[in-house]
């Protein structure tokens, strides 16, 4: 069972994002040292520079607090094995992603944090519970692991109406799971649908529930006001900041999600079924009446603007220009599928998770008309041989209405071709030329270690699982090749490698001439250890293959690959002299080295507690001490929200707070 099996609950609505965007820029923030740029700048000068460059740089949310909320997000459909549910009190109930807060407040938010603040493929949602329904009827899951983003589709919105900006064209999927013992059920006696869902969750082969949702069509400048006036442009925003605005400028995405039964033995963060990856550069023309803006109109963001996706900026702008220059075309985004064979084994159905597959063409979320979509199986032994599976899937089956009501899930029955599918790989085609847009990638390396933070000297285990067509592989001659990426580029030498990879015995993993490491797969699993060799952000990319085969890795990290994002925290060796018992730590050391980055880069924090003010910090010493403890790292209570505090800086802060306590606390003397 999985999201692609029944029962399944679908929810839809909007997500509100309120990240701080200053750390996206290497001209303002050094992610290796976790410090403002330049490090010795004053708060006034730093904020003055930020504000004066908003219009030029596109820094759209200086006072963001990384809060994430579902807005007007409700349960929109329920599918049971017996059929769709048309009436149940669970329908229409809210869905909430919730955090914890230090003060009284209702529905505290989750927090959006990028492992790599400069990049676009390392986002996580830290949260504390996920609520489906409410306290009367519903189920709430306590967080076991964060949501990490995956299945990136940068060109999901074709922007034919020229309204998208920043990350507005992107679609991204989030997934995590909740074990049975972390679920609290309410109102079962009032909801037959919820009862049926719980029965499926309680089955012996189920581990809990899995939640998978997509964020897409992100819109900006829709809910920002200063002095009663709406702010709708970068220029207005800059003026507002310069006049003292310290408020929110959140972005809003459409959200569509599915909740299903989490299979025993499957990882939490997905994928749990067969994987379909986009064929590079494949696309098909869009059918029907569409409009294409003049090339000049594409540049909606300021010239030179760095978007939320700094490293992807060039790619986005260049692809936008290409789209404008020719007939609109589209491709499909990374997806999953599951095959259910009938009792005879000769027929069955393919269930496709197309929650992030078919693009939209505009802000109204009209789906791109690719014509009919056709499934086919390509023979493993004869690559020229393809067998069609099922009937063509017409546009009406994947248009906006069908997409929303069905949770992006498409079911394609087939009466013939079962054998071809069993002995081949699935492909998804479209267009007049039957262009293959998605191809199955049978061997998939999956891991729940999607987002890793490493402190100096720290070693952490990483477990990889190899799925073969969605099931843990039983092949015995597989290895996983592991490539290192740093600042987005493939690493080819030991001296530039940011990570040290060892086996569970501490021995270095063997590497080839291209510095690609390998590790054998045993019973479908491979475990290694990773430790940092330098500060900064990077990734480990994985490919599973037969030991006798060689694989190549691209020079730049590609989002369709399987990878883990890793942030090596700053190595604050210069602070070692203060990290000793009995050493007096001046306030200036604490502010300049520990707190200043938050005061400057995330100025919203000083609106809550003035981090520049010793008395304010001393007065909240108990909270600072608790909020920076690693045992709450996963909670939204953890401060720093952006998770870049090294152990050395934590020690400095804690020793300082000990001094404050030994001096009688925060009261003025």
């Amino acid at each position: 069972m999985s999201i692609l099996s029944l029962p399944r609950i679908t929810f839809s609505g909007k997500t509100e994002w309120n990240p701080d965007t200053t750390n996206n820029y290497d001209t303002y923030y050094d992610s290796a040292t976790a410090a403002p740029v330049p490090p010795n700048v004053s708060r006034d000068d730093y904020l003055g520079t930020l504000k004066s460059q908003v219009s030029d740089q596109g820094n759209w949310n200086l006072y963001g607090d990384h809060a994430v909320r579902f807005v007007d997000t409700t349960i929109s459909s329920i599918q049971l094995p017996t059929g769709g549910v048309t009436s149940d009190p669970l329908l229409g109930k809210p869905t909430l992603i919730l955090g914890l807060v230090w003060s009284d407040g209702k529905n505290p938010p989750a927090r959006l944090v990028d492992v790599d603040p400069y990049g676009a493929t390392s986002s996580q949602l830290f949260f504390d519970s996920f609520q489906i329904g409410d306290s009367q009827i519903g189920v709430t899951g306590k967080r076991v692991d964060r949501f990490s983003d995956r299945d990136f589709f940068f060109a999901r919105n074709l922007n034919l109406d020229n309204q998208a900006m920043i990350a507005g064209k992107m679609g991204v999927v989030w997934q995590t799971a909740f074990p049975k013992d972390q679920l609290t059920w309410n109102g079962l006696s009032s909801s037959p649908a919820l009862t049926a869902f719980k029965q499926a969750v309680d089955a012996s082969d189920a581990a809990g529930i899995v939640v998978r949702f997509v964020s897409y069509r992100t819109q900006y400048f829709t809910n920002c006001k200063f002095n009663g006036k709406s702010i709708t442009t970068f220029e207005e925003l800059q003026t507002a900041y310069e006049q003292g605005f310290t408020g929110r400028n959140p972005a809003y995405s459409a959200v569509l999600g599915n909740i299903g039964v989490w299979n025993t033995g499957k990882i939490q963060s997905g994928p749990s079924d067969c994987v379909l990856v986009p064929v590079p550069k494949a696309n098909v023309p869009i059918q029907g009446a569409v409009t294409s803006p003049a090339p000049a109109a594409i540049a909606a963001a300021p010239a030179g603007s760095k978007t939320l996706l700094s490293r992807q900026q060039t790619k986005l702008q260049s692809s936008a220009a290409a789209e404008a220059a020719s007939t609109p075309t589209a491709t499909l985004g990374q997806s999953q599928f599951r095959v259910e064979f009938d009792a005879t084994g000769d027929s069955g159905k393919v269930v496709l998770d197309f929650i992030n597959a078919v693009p939209e063409v505009n802000q109204q979320l009209v789906k791109a008309d690719l014509g009919s979509i056709q499934l086919q199986a390509r023979d493993n032994n004869d690559p020229k041989k393809v067998t069609l599976l099922g009937n063509p899937v017409p546009y009406a089956t994947y248009n906006r209405e069908a997409y929303t009501s069905g949770g992006g899930v498409l079911t394609v029955p087939f009466a013939m071709g079962a054998s071809a599918l069993k002995n081949g790989t699935l492909e998804v085609t479209a267009g007049p030329s039957t262009t293959v847009l998605l191809k199955e990638r049978p061997l998939e390396v999956v891991t729940d270690s999607k987002s890793i933070y490493l402190d100096e000297g720290q070693t952490t285990p990483v477990q990889l699982t190899v799925q073969d067509r969605g099931a843990i592989t039983t092949k015995t001659v597989l290895v996983i090749s592991i490539a290192q990426y740093f600042n987005g580029a493939l690493i080819a030498t030991a001296s530039s490698a940011p990570f040290r990879l060892t086996d569970t015995g501490g021995n270095l993993l063997p590497v080839d001439a291209n510095f690609i490491a390998t590790i054998p797969v045993v019973n479908g699993v491979a475990t290694f250890q990773v430790s940092p060799t330098m500060a900064g952000t990077g990734a480990l990319c994985y490919q599973a293959h037969l030991a006798s085969n060689a694989v190549l890795f691209p020079p730049g990290l590609e989002v369709a690959m399987s990878f883990s994002n890793i942030r090596n925290l700053p190595w604050d060796d210069s602070l070692a002299k203060f990290d000793q018992p009995g050493v007096v730590i001046p306030w200036s050391i604490v502010y300049e080295n520990v707190l200043k980055v938050y005061d400057l880069v995330y100025p919203v924090m000083s609106l809550v507690i003035d981090l520049r003010n010793k008395q304010a910090v001393d007065g909240a010493g108990g909270q600072f001490r608790r909020a920076t403890a690693l045992d709450i790292f996963e909670s939204t209570l953890y401060m720093p929200i952006t998770r870049e505090m090294s152990q050395r800086k934590r020690n400095i802060l804690w020793r300082y707070l000990q001094q404050v306590e030994m001096g009688g606390g925060a009261s003025p003397k």
Partner: protein, 448 residues
């Protein structure tokens, strides 16, 4: 079950309790059974019957002699806590706000009545700034008057209800790390006072320094454990600045005092003393008439309008009824503008009781922890404010911290709930040692 506390003369109640067989010699420490604990909730029996003999005038403020009995006889006090906790709360308010005898710290003046000019009893107690000194030095004994900085003492104090006695303010931040402000944007400021029982206990047993506290915790101190006498009391007051010219209408409704407060720069360096007139917005009173103390809090009635902090849980009807009668009796004084918010005697909710039960934990109803919060002192975490629980965590380590992860005192911040503070039964303190609910001890400084 809703208890009806038809208000009798507080004096009547006290006398009734006394006559009902509780005439014992003054006691320094209580032998009263631990009422109000989680395993022994307060008794809900009705008030004691009227005694025979001359009856005091009904619906009148109690006399000083009557209230003072609560400070002289632990059984009388404990019985009043158990039988009429709201009356006890008001009794403590009257006692601590009685005009003080000139020249004697902490002694009410029998020749005066509530509302008469001059400092009140608690204002003449020891300010914690007098108790916990630099380098953990021994504080001067009780009778030594407070030292006012020369630059403040040379200034004419503004006219106030307290008279010319300058009040030292000691903090601007609440225990959750956040300040709150009044309607003019000025920060609410606080001070804390200890009565002679608390002070003498601290001074006698060396608890005025971190090392002295650790010694007791480690078993090498002069006492086996920190256990304050039943006569121990503390107050924590919250104040707002008032402009003598612009705030005349407000001044008429506040108990006022002249105050001084240290202004610091961002780096914590002293800049100057800010002086002026302050109005009392809230008053915590704690009294060790139970082993787990009794927790009482009052607020100025206009707080919801004149400060930015808003009340989360309404004051229960039973408490409002008592307040209404007491405010009528105090109509000739500014204390008519103050109201009892609640009295907490138990960790857990006691449904049907006008205390504890009505302050039900609405965040986690199943947990059933009792709540009590003052909008001026626990502004932003009222939904998880339990005086008794947080204070039960007052503790000290058995040794000085060495490593960054070492704590001097157990954290009172629980995480995993929202907001993250303790409610309900207090946690196990080990490896720390209890400081008998007295968090003011954490102001002690190191001798090193």
């Amino acid at each position: 079950m809703i208890r009806l506390f038809a208000f009798l003369s507080l004096g009547t109640v006290i006398i009734a309790l006394m006559i009902s067989g509780c005439n014992k010699p003054d006691q320094k420490s209580s032998t009263v059974p631990p009422k109000g604990t989680a395993s022994n909730p307060p008794a809900t029996k009705p008030s004691e019957p009227q005694p025979s003999g001359p009856k005091p005038k009904a619906d009148a403020l109690p006399t000083l002699a009557e209230i003072s009995k609560l400070e002289e006889d632990s059984d009388t006090a404990a019985k009043l806590v158990g039988n009429a906790p709201l009356d006890f709360g008001w009794a403590m308010f009257l006692y601590t706000n009685w005009p003080a005898k000139p020249g004697e710290r902490g002694v009410p003046d029998p020749g005066k009545k509530p509302g008469d000019a001059g400092p009140v009893v608690w204002e003449t107690w020891k300010n914690v700034a007098e108790v916990f000194l630099d380098k953990g030095a021994e504080p001067p004994e009780w009778s030594v008057p407070p030292v006012v900085p020369p630059e403040v003492a040379s200034t004419t104090p503004p006219a106030s209800d307290s008279g010319p006695m300058w009040q030292r303010m000691t903090e601007s931040i609440q225990v959750d790390g956040f300040p709150t402000k009044d309607d003019s944007g000025q920060t609410i400021i606080y001070n804390v006072f200890q009565n002679k029982s608390v002070f003498d206990y601290i001074r006698t047993n060396g608890l005025y320094s971190v090392q002295g506290q650790i010694a007791v915790a480690a078993g090498s101190g002069p006492i086996p454990k920190i256990d304050f006498p039943w006569t121990a009391m503390e107050v924590k007051a919250s104040w707002r600045w008032l402009d003598p010219e612009k705030d005349q209408a407000k001044i008429a409704r506040y108990f006022t005092a002249p105050a001084y407060w240290a202004e610091l720069d961002d780096d914590g360096n002293f800049v100057k003393w800010q002086t002026g007139l302050m109005g009392l917005t809230g008053l915590h009173i704690i009294s060790k008439d139970l082993p787990t103390w009794v927790w009482i809090t009052f607020e100025q009635v206009d707080n919801g309008t004149w400060t930015k902090a808003k009340r989360l849980h309404p004051i229960p009807p039973e408490v409002q009824a008592v307040n209404s009668k007491m405010q009528k009796l105090l109509a000739a004084t500014k204390f008519a503008n103050y109201e009892l918010v609640g009295v907490q005697t138990s960790f857990m909710s006691n449904p049907g009781s006008p205390v504890d039960g009505t302050s039900i934990n609405t965040v986690d109803p199943g947990q059933g922890g009792s709540l009590l919060a003052n909008t001026q002192i626990e502004s932003a975490f009222q939904s998880r404010s339990s005086c008794i629980t947080c204070h039960s965590i007052a503790s000290v380590a058995k040794q000085l911290p060495q490593q960054p992860a070492d704590l001097l005192r157990k954290s009172f911040v629980e995480v995993g709930v929202t907001p993250p503070y303790y409610v309900g039964n207090g946690p196990d303190l080990a490896p720390f040692v209890s400081m008998d609910f007295v968090w003011s001890l954490r102001r002690a400084r190191s001798t090193e």
